[in-house]
Symmetry: C2
Subunit: 410 residues, 2 copies
């Protein structure tokens, strides 16, 4: 008998029929002899409906009251799923975040979980009941309702798995696992049976938005096996675990890409200590997230600094940068908001030299110019002109043997 | 400075615009120097929408989970009203029933309030904040969400007024007070400035559904002045208080009527002790509410027993009665589901003889036949053919001088 935490997102519980389907999946897991804790999100569209009501009465809704409001979304789903399980003869009991209790700090809208009381859930599980918990929400020490922010239901699921020492945390989504590349771009992309936490983190951070980074980090920290599977199509999904040294690691597990990037360069700034801080400080202070940063080797006593931001922040970042450039006496500011990033991810590349040069050679053979390069221990990212993104991803997918039809490689 | 509890029902908070209007009313009361606690219901239609979702997943929804589900209705409203008050520069803080806490027993769907913790509300009031509380809901000692049943928001308001020793509990509705008769029937009906609890209870029990009986009983028991007013039209409404012996009581305060009644008679049952129980026991056991009961003086050794039930229970009650009649050897069962009840209510009638005969004489003058009569200390009810209801109410309204244009009588 295993203890399994299952999480279903908004599209999986979008209407009574789908909730019934989720109840079938949960009951199957329980009837196989497992203890099951289910975490659910609000029915898709519900959170936005509630936020629209809030904005209709107040242009700048207070965070505490917004949390009281949106927390009702998951509360509706837990009751409906419990009722749907009852209708199938499966005993079940619902819990709001406050009822568990999932104790958080008091930062409304993006609270962090501090502590989880597992007593009530344990007592229900011992009585063979399915425990249905509202995702995304908690309660602070004064009893105020808090929410964990976007994607918070994944975090709730992992946190419950940690607190209950669950054997597996299953995240049901609308895709049936993690793929070697986006199947919409690469028809030959394959579902991966297995990934390490590190690989999942790199893939998530470069655009394969199957799981929230925060949930993966959390699961990684506490070594809770995560499984990504589809609530619509049956299958084993992708299992994500700590690295197993006995297992032969493939060179590359997947190729991720993002399109919504923009690049800014400040040309000819004095090459002195502190210049990077002076350039990037105001951008960060404006809450604009900076992704890649590249500083060229300086020619004479000036240097060029290039960085990427989200495309939606391009105009604001450029304006800030122009001001800084004038202050520092830089030669000019250039920018390009038609770029894309392609990343190769795999724990195997750690022990293999030559991956980067093989990547660059394959791209050059297709006349794809590389504008920026950034590397981590298990990832190599390149920035290219946006028009090359499909060609680039497909080229690398073939080059590194990910096209193979079999799924036996791992 | 007074402490005022204000309650707004579902139609008063039906959409963001109306919630804004409620916020205006609340702010006006607070700006006049009062401390204000507001109790709100779910936006009209919301509870039914949620119950329809429940039935879509489970034909017989469990009471605990139904409470978790429908309690979200009021939770949405408290957040929206708090946000709407903020938008008007009025500090406010929302509380669910559980957050207050409003402690109830564990009878889901019709819980009774056992205790209210006023500490958090007092602290907010001291900080000049408006306190916004979800009506209709509470929490049992184990932290399960409970609801108080239909009309429970009125009960919440009165219970909070009692716990906080409020100066007045104002119930906002879609009518601007309690009238001497239904204005749709009697165009000359007048709004009453003042009523006693006893009168309000009798009026409520005979069809003037302005307030829930339970809330009036509760307010009466703890002597909390109640005021009924309209959230749509300005005005002082009707104040309901304990009887003031120094005040001259009018004979009659109002005339109420109900149409949805039906009458059943079992004819020729043996006139023995216990026969009323044998006849009515099975009806009560089937959860059919019995209103008036009349037993005629027995002729020979048999008697006739007549009682009224709600029209919707007529068929079921008749079936039960036929079975009992056969068992007891009664002569026959007769019934009529086209009856109406007209009631005269007033604390003044206590000290005045002749009210009943004056009532009967006035009805006789219009050739309205009286089928049944029932009296209490401050009420006389008659059952008549349904077709006479308008004529009967108007006749009595004139007869007892309620038509007067002035509102100065009280």
């Amino acid at each position: 008998m295993a203890l399994i935490v299952q999480k279903f997102g908004g599209t999986s519980v979008a209407d009574p029929e789908r909730i019934g389907h989720v109840a079938d999946l949960v009951k199957t897991t329980r009837d196989a002899g497992n203890q099951v804790v289910v975490v659910v999100s609000a029915m898709s569209g519900e959170t936005n409906r509630l936020l629209a009501l809030a904005r209709a009465v107040n242009a700048k809704p207070d965070a505490r009251e917004s949390d009281v409001l949106v927390a009702t979304g998951e509360q509706v789903t837990i009751a409906l799923l419990a009722l749907s399980l009852h209708a199938r003869g499966c005993p079940a009991r619902s819990y709001t975040g406050g009822q568990v209790a999932i104790r958080t700090d008091s930062v409304h809208g993006k609270a962090r979980i501090e502590q989880i009381d597992d007593a009530a859930m344990r007592s229900d599980l011992a009585k063979q009941r399915v425990v249905v918990v509202a995702g995304f929400q908690g309660v602070d020490e004064k009893g105020n309702i808090t929410t964990l922010g976007r994607g918070g239901s994944d975090t709730t699921a992992v946190a419950l798995a940690v607190a209950l020492k669950a054997d597996e945390c299953q995240i049901y989504t609308d895709v049936d696992g993690v793929y070697t590349a986006d199947p919409r771009l690469v028809p030959d992309a394959r579902r991966l049976d297995h990934l390490t936490f590190e690989e999942m983190l790199e893939l998530a951070s470069v655009g394969a938005k199957v799981l929230q980074i925060r949930a993966v980090e959390f699961a990684s920290k506490y070594n809770v096996p995560l499984r990504v599977l589809s609530s619509f199509a049956p299958g084993p999904g992708t299992l994500i675990t700590p690295e197993d040294p006995s297992m032969e690691q493939p060179l590359i597990s997947g190729i991720a890409h993002t399109r919504d990037e923009a690049k800014l360069t400040v040309v000819g700034v004095p090459d002195k200590p502190g210049v990077a801080y002076k350039v990037l400080g105001p951008i960060a202070a404006a809450n604009i997230e900076i992704d890649m940063i590249v500083q060229n080797v300086s020619a004479e006593d000036t240097t060029d600094l290039t960085f990427t931001v989200s495309r939606s922040d391009f105009a604001a970042a450029r304006e800030l940068l122009e001001a800084t450039a004038a202050e520092l006496g830089a030669r000019e500011v250039t920018g390009d908001d038609r770029i894309a990033k392609i990343s190769l991810v795999g724990v195997g590349m750690r022990s293999h030299a030559g991956i980067a040069s093989r990547m660059f050679k394959a791209l050059a053979a297709e006349f794809i110019n590389i504008q920026m390069i950034s590397t981590s221990e298990i990832k190599i990212s390149v920035v290219v002109d946006e028009k090359y993104v499909e060609l680039g991803v497909r080229t690398l997918h073939s080059e590194f043997g990910l096209d193979a039809r079999s799924e036996t490689r791992r």
